[in-house]
């Protein structure tokens, strides 16, 4: 389950781990942009911008639409559901274990540490 998720999450987290790519996603969260528009704020070449966009595409966070000579990019937030599944997995992980801890604490009497308790 976690194992199955790992590769996908790696891709998403890798995509998000770069400030330039985060900024690009933020820009795209407003509306779609061309590759040139995404590159502009960073004073980077179209080739460099394209590399970043490819990482985002691989993670499934951006979709590219070719309209004539213009490549339009838009945000595709759906893969973030993998992050949500990750969260659900851990919620269950801890809930199950806290159940087990509660059950164990209830079946085991507390250790005799009271001040007036007799030894052993």
């Amino acid at each position: 389950m976690v194992e199955h998720q790992t590769a996908r999450l790696d891709g998403i987290f890798h995509a998000l781990s770069d400030a330039t790519r985060r900024e690009m996603l933020h820009t795209l969260s407003q509306h779609e942009r061309s590759v040139g528009e995404l590159a502009a704020p960073f004073r980077m070449s179209l080739a460099a911008a394209s590399k970043h966009i490819k990482v985002l595409e691989r993670a499934g966070l951006v979709r590219r639409n070719v309209q004539g000579r213009t490549h339009m990019c838009r945000l595709a937030p759906e893969p973030l559901s993998a992050v949500q599944e990750w969260l659900r997995f851990y919620e269950r992980f801890w809930t199950d274990r806290l159940d087990a801890l509660d059950a164990l604490l209830q079946t085991e009497p507390p250790p005799p540490v009271r001040k007036k308790g007799s030894p052993r």
Binding site: H14, L25, W94, L98, A100, L101, L105
Partner: protein
Amino acid sequence: MSAQPPVRVRVVRQFSASPERVFDAWLDPHWIGRWMFGPGVRDEEVLRIVNDARVGGTFSFLVRRKTQEIDHVGTYLAIDRPHHLVFTWAIEKETAELSRVTIDIVPRGTGCELTLTHEVDPKWAEYAGRTEAGWTTMLGALARAFDAPGTA
């Protein structure tokens, strides 16, 4: 520093046992091997539970599921018995998922209430400080975008 951690799971649980007993169950290897791991909670065999229960000390909880050995490793960041415990948490070899677990225990009558917070920041070490705020903002923005209807 942003108030909200990047990605977070929170679980709250009431116990009839005292804060001390609940707290100690997190650090005593004998207890860890009975409730956190092993056949009591899932189909797995506990191979080794070792820990150095002091701030900066590490732990390794090794289990076998079917043919796979899984080592849960981490470092204790704060130990304040019986109220507060913080440790990092990772599956060895899956270093992309660095995470941090915080346990807060408050007395409730004769028992206590435990709040567990599991935060993941995949680039915890690498991006701590300088870019954490940016990361947090980004994930927050994306989460909102994801939650918004009609974004397909």
